[in-house]
């Protein structure tokens, strides 16, 4: 009885959703709302207006800079929330010492050591070339964050902590919002709007975008690593 009720309810919810989906324009069709409003302008003038040849980067950091500013703040807040919740349940931070640590397979250790510099270089490449090719701060940052996590697994938590002291790490975790604040203020001084990008000397807008990319990348990587390390603490 209950089961039949659940199925009926799910069908009642799914029906209108599926009908609505069927009425949407097809994937890639020019009728899509995404193509009928601002996209035309982005495509036609984005490359010279936004200061980045990659239009996705131009939209994310320039046209929709405020959205990205908010997103970056949300990511930092998530890290702060994880730290706050996990810090509540125990006094101070104590790395886990429960039980005997499982020895890592030499294959894993060797492969990680071999690949680490290449992964780091790829992350750097993705951040730097975000202006002209797919990629950017978020993408490079997540790749670098994954690298930090996998390196922590191999070299051990103590060594990883020794390499990144607490005080600068906290500042690096806030690098995303801080870089937006700095670049936004520079933009306000140059154009009169927060996060405004000057058009005329292209180099200025390009270097502002690059500063944002690096801020997002470093902040994202450190936030991912920070959440992982916090989870490794004894709760």
């Amino acid at each position: 009885m209950k089961r039949a009720l659940v199925i009926a309810l799910l069908a009642a919810v799914a029906m209108p959703l599926l009908l609505a989906a069927a009425r949407m324009p097809r994937f890639g069709s020019v009728e899509q709302p995404a193509y009928t409003h601002v996209a035309r302008r982005y495509l036609e003038r984005g490359a010279e207006e936004a200061g980045a040849e990659n239009i996705v980067t131009g939209v994310i950091l320039n046209y929709r800079g405020f959205d990205t500013n908010g997103e970056v703040t949300v990511i930092f807040t998530a890290c702060a929330a994880v730290a706050a919740v996990l810090a509540c349940s125990g006094e101070g931070r104590r790395p886990v010492r429960a039980g005997t640590p499982v020895a890592l397979s030499p294959v894993v250790r060797y492969v990680v050591r071999l690949l680490a510099p290449f992964i780091a270089l790829f992350a750097f490449y993705v951040v730097v070339f975000g202006e002209v090719s797919p990629g950017g701060g978020f993408q490079g940052g997540t790749v670098f964050g994954a690298l930090i996590i996998v390196t922590t697994v191999v070299v051990g938590r103590d060594e990883a902590e020794r390499l990144s002291p607490e005080r600068p790490r906290l500042w690096l975790q806030a690098a995303g919002p801080l870089s937006f604040l700095a670049v936004g203020t520079v933009g306000a001084l140059l154009t009169g709007w927060y996060l405004g990008f000057p058009h005329v000397p292209r180099a200025i807008a390009a270097s502002m975008l690059m500063a944002l990319e690096f801020g997002i990348g470093v902040g994202g990587a450190m936030v991912l690593a920070g959440i992982f390390w916090r989870l490794g603490d004894e709760a």
Binding site: V56, Q139, A146, F228
Partner: protein, 84 residues
């Protein structure tokens, strides 16, 4: 009726996605569920790339398939492995 390769590929990926999603919900072993979820992310990464969003695909591979799985695993290692 000729079917384009691209659509066939899309169809295969979507089928895999649905299968992975069902498997994640049905497994009682949380460790296995995290691994299947990671596979789901990998398929999703292919879907993004095929749909012309390589930057989203890159993030999906690093965050969805990599970092989230690691976070799930460390959460499981602190709690229990079996779903009750």
């Amino acid at each position: 009726m000729p079917i384009e390769m691209g659509r066939l590929f899309d169809l295969g990926l979507m089928t895999l996605l649905v299968l992975c999603a069902l498997a994640v919900v049905r497994t009682k072993d949380l460790l296995a569920a995290s691994i299947i979820f990671s596979a789901y992310s990998l398929v999703m990464c292919l879907v993004w790339d095929h749909r012309g969003a390589p930057d989203v695909a890159m993030t999906e591979a690093a965050v969805g398939a990599g970092v989230t799985t690691v976070l799930f695993l460390s959460a499981i290692s602190k709690t229990v492995r079996k779903e009750r």
